[in-house]
């Protein structure tokens, strides 16, 4: 069966520091991969998606970037964090087409 892993589960970072969040999927090949941010009381906001290695599309211009160095690995990065980058970050995968997306357990990011 397929599983998705995200780490770390929680992270506290100072303003201006770099960021790297990692997501890996097991049990499937060539998945579509997604990064979302969830703010309290609001819907999930799609940040990036990828349909293959090295292929990244951005939905919202911001202080973040994403990379997909391997088929089942998706990384969310920032060179300098802002206070507004705080939130709950979720990674998801899908086999494509109209199949549902499946989510990891997220990373709670707090910026001080």
């Amino acid at each position: 069966s397929q599983t998705i892993h995200q780490w770390p589960a929680t992270l506290v970072q100072p303003v201006g520091s770099p960021l790297s969040l990692e997501c890996t999927v097991e049990g499937t090949s060539n998945p579509n991969l997604y990064w979302y941010r969830q703010a309290a009381g609001r819907g999930l906001q799609l940040l990036f998606y990828s349909v293959g290695i090295g292929q990244i599309s951005s939905e919202v211009p911001q202080n973040l970037s994403a990379s997909r160095p391997q088929d089942r690995q998706f990384i969310l990065s920032s060179k300098k964090l802002l206070l507004s980058d705080s939130g709950f970050y979720l990674c998801a995968w899908a086999t494509g087409g109209n199949q549902p997306q499946h989510f990891g357990d997220g990373t709670r990011l707090s910026i001080l």
């Binding site: 009381g41 819907g43 998606y49 979720l90 109209n98 549902p100 997306q101 990891g104 997220g106």
Partner: protein
């Protein structure tokens, strides 16, 4: 503009008290409506996909229905373990072949014994 609205924002039920959650949507070219359950501090867990008006799906105490403008998640005789936030999302066709999910803000359900 594509939009998903869930109501109510929060719902408190007594154990055994059946109710419904609403998800209304405006989207061009619906390619599916998805229901998820999210527990505090966890990622959303997939429940159902509905593709066309009149379609229904059931799982234990949950039943999801779809019309051309909205979906309902009916909860029959809920138990405390059904307490969670329930998220609705729609997939709209986007030029270029990529299908994007648009999420509502969710309904926080609390079931008390």
């Amino acid at each position: 503009e594509d939009q998903v609205t869930q109501s109510p924002e929060a719902l408190r039920l007594q154990e055994g008290e059946s109710s419904s959650l609403n998800c209304s949507y405006t989207v061009s070219g619906l390619r599916g409506l998805f229901w998820y359950r999210q527990d505090p501090g966890k990622g959303p867990e997939f429940l159902f996909t509905l593709y066309s008006a009149g379609e229904e799906k059931e799982k234990e105490r949950l039943k999801a229905t779809l019309t051309k403008k909205e979906s309902f998640l009916h909860i029959t005789a809920p138990k405390p373990e059904d307490s969670a936030t329930y998220l609705c999302a729609v997939r709209a066709f986007k030029t270029g072949g990529y299908n994007k999910l648009i999420f509502g803000a969710g309904t926080r359900l609390a079931v008390h014994p």
